[in-house]
Symmetry: C2
Subunit: 217 residues, 2 copies
């Protein structure tokens, strides 16, 4: 990793990063290839050369985002789970919710990534397919495993899957509804301090849900 890039690779990556920023901000259809090339200080022809066209660039953006996410938070979802007590599993759920919330809400560098993903999720297509299989599904699966251990229930059951979707959904909404949330809470910015409030609230909710599902034995 971090090996020096050739000129062509620099152009390629710059185009991708510029495109992600613009797609995140305005949406795929509202961005022209000219805008992308200008921002990347490249020429329009380079998009056809490197990606075959605008749809190719879109897919390359998705792969770039997936790759980055997989490298940072992926291992936590794919590494096999050690044996855990119910309380340890609960603790791990809370910790993962904290990490996920921070990534999704505040982490500076991932701002564009997150908005890009959010927009693509509303579109049925190759890109959202990729996000689901490479990122959402493993995450959901891992939470289900942990939820199963923490509550004593079957991690493959509908009730567990639905409960996990619910508390993952909490986090999403804090992103989509961010404008309203900031106004309602009278926040001018969303920094570390504000994120901590949100994380605390979400962790508390998550704990409450887990405990409500826990079977006494």
């Amino acid at each position: 990793m971090d090996k020096p890039l050739s000129g062509a690779e620099i152009t390629r990556v710059t185009l991708i990063e510029s495109a992600i920023g613009l797609f995140a901000e305005r949406g795929y259809d509202a961005v022209s290839t000219r805008d992308i090339a200008d921002l990347a200080a490249a020429n329009i022809g380079s998009i056809a050369y490197h990606f075959g066209g605008k749809p190719g660039l879109r897919l390359a953006c998705a792969q770039h985002v997936i790759g980055n996410i997989a490298a940072t938070v992926g291992p936590a979802f794919l590494r096999p789970l050690p044996p855990l007590t119910p309380d340890q599993a609960l603790e791990m759920i809370e910790r993962m919710m904290g990490v996920f919330t921070n990534f999704w809400m505040v982490s500076e560098g991932s701002q564009s990534f997150v908005n890009f993903i959010l927009r693509e999720m509303l579109v049925k297509g190759e890109v959202s397919e990729l996000f689901y299989s490479a990122w959402m599904k493993p995450m959901h699966k891992r939470f289900c495993e942990l939820f199963g251990i923490a509550t004593g229930r079957d991690p493959a059951s509908h009730e567990v899957k639905i409960a996990v979707f619910s508390f993952i959904g909490q986090v999403f909404h804090f992103r989509v509804g961010q404008p309203l949330i900031m106004r309602r809470l009278e926040w001018d910015e969303l920094g570390e301090r504000e994120a901590e409030h949100i994380v605390n609230g979400l962790v508390k909710n998550t704990r409450a849900i887990v405990l409500a599902y826990r079977l006494q034995d």
Copy 2:
């Protein structure tokens, strides 16, 4: 209401409804005024005549959606709250979550409305502003009041506001992540029966969260 519409009004409404359907499906920027006029069996010129242009039509769509929502679920959010015991407030929260979930997830007619809103929420602008002030904010406020009564906490406090955002967010995610959810749950369609499973899960979570916040006195 339901008074006979003049010819011009029919054209106007048909254009709006066609536009909402297409905007919901593909997004504002991916839809051309020609497509809208064709679907509405009108001509391109009529969009300029009735709405001034494409942005005017977008706003008219937003107002149409807001108007419909306000007429159906609005009163429940604006009507002053009668005196309630904590348990009655909890029961009302659960009932409202059920109604909201049904509207947001399955209700046939509102499918386009919901997708239209979802897409517009990601865009900063006049339209999302309208949704926030006319729909999301009153709903959030009402849930906070009920949550305050149900838990004995200050409905204007940050912790209550955040908790309410959380469980509203659960519902949103079931919409955005619908493709993944249906695959993970091995559902082929999302009908009454499936919605009931989801509503039951959400109500259970909501109850758990409320009880976790309830102050003993």
